[in-house]
Symmetry: C2
Subunit: 210 residues, 2 copies
DNA sequence: GTCTATATGGCGATAGAC
DNA sequence: GTCTATCGCCATATAGAC
């Protein structure tokens, strides 16, 4: 992030706010300008048009999230500890950026080129070829620490079960957590425990059953 | 569904297509009219304005998905079999309607009243008070078939890990499945197996560890 | 760089003939 | 019920002064 009184930075923040909330088409340039405390003309001065501004925001958010996740994937801990800390930090990350996943997925659903370009720019080539997490999982399998299974299914299960709550929070709270006194922080801590326990012990080698 | 040459039905299908793809604001009435093979004026004749049409579509989709899920939740199978069949049928359902979850979530992110109204209309009161799945899980815990844990965390884990692939498919295929010969059907069948095994055995009572 | 004022176009919505 | 033609607004974008 740049210094906070930089105009570009101010516009970025405002645009991010509005775009994340309303999406590319629901967002209005006027609202962004208002939120940034400037007028529409200046938006066009810095970012030639709405589409460029949107694309810029999307790539910025995508890259930042990606970088954080890639960071979480760097680890030389044993598999068990890696899994535990990854889930914990990943849920923390989502909690701090709970509106981003849906924002990214919304763009995804349009299947446009913005996403594929953002991926290309955000992903170091060598990473997409060999995710460190896959190597870690394969090693744990070789050592017999966990059962054999497509590592990608494991990754998708970890990510999916961690992510879901944040994507569906409004609906989930109505359908599932309709209580007066819902302690969200506590629930998230329990979620870390739950997901780790389910997945780690779900991967543990078993005797004969099934 | 109504008879397919009914005008309202034709419009519904077209509108669904466009709205699901582009969202409430990205969608254009002209495109819907084109896709339905009629003109804009007729859209307004049947559904007074864009918002009403959108709301109608959203509630329709939401209710249909809800009904299907509620169906899946009715079961008197033992927990193990219930879990296995639920995951399998739920993934099949998602596969047949893979664009709906994102559509619903996109609306969710706007936090509008459309969603909360749709929930109220789609959810039988008695169901939201007592989800049958929670009862099933609690019984299994009482019998000692699975470890004690907040049942809601289990439900979220099952749903989240099943759902994630369909919500993120484009991105996932780039990041994780960048092969020439990706057999999607096979991958989904493996996913059913993987999720069931991880979760069911992840819930199995353990000796002392952790 | 930043503003006010204005042009331009697109889109939702309606009027009105058939 | 279905169409063509058109209205009127609103949002993006630009012109041009300061």
């Amino acid at each position: 992030m740049v210094k906070p009184d930089d105009k570009e930075e101010i516009i970025m923040r405002a645009a991010m706010d509005v775009f994340v909330d309303k999406g590319q088409y629901g967002a209005k340039m006027q609202e962004i300008a208002d939120k940034a405390g400037i007028n529409k003309a200046l938006l066009h001065y810095y970012y030639r048009n709405k589409e460029k501004l949107y694309t810029h925001i999307f790539k910025f958010i995508f890259k930042n999230i990606m970088d954080e996740v890639v960071d979480l994937l760097q680890s030389d801990l044993p598999f068990k500890d890696f899994l535990k800390t990854f889930i914990s930090k990943y849920i923390d990350l989502l909690n701090e950026n709970h509106r981003f996943p849906l924002f990214i997925m919304r763009e995804l659903s349009q299947g446009g080129k913005i996403v594929s370009n953002a991926i290309k720019e955000a992903m170091p080539r060598e990473l997409s070829e060999h995710l460190p997490a896959i190597k870690l999982i394969e090693d744990a399998m070789s050592r017999g620490e966990i059962v054999r299974m497509d590592p990608r299914q494991i990754i998708l299960t970890v990510i999916g079960s961690s992510l879901f709550y944040f994507m569906g929070e409004p609906i989930i709270r109505v359908l599932l957590l309709n209580e007066e006194s819902f302690d969200r922080d506590k629930f998230l801590e329990e979620k870390k425990e739950a997901i780790f326990n389910i997945i780690y012990y779900g991967l543990a080698p078993r005797g004969d059953k099934q």
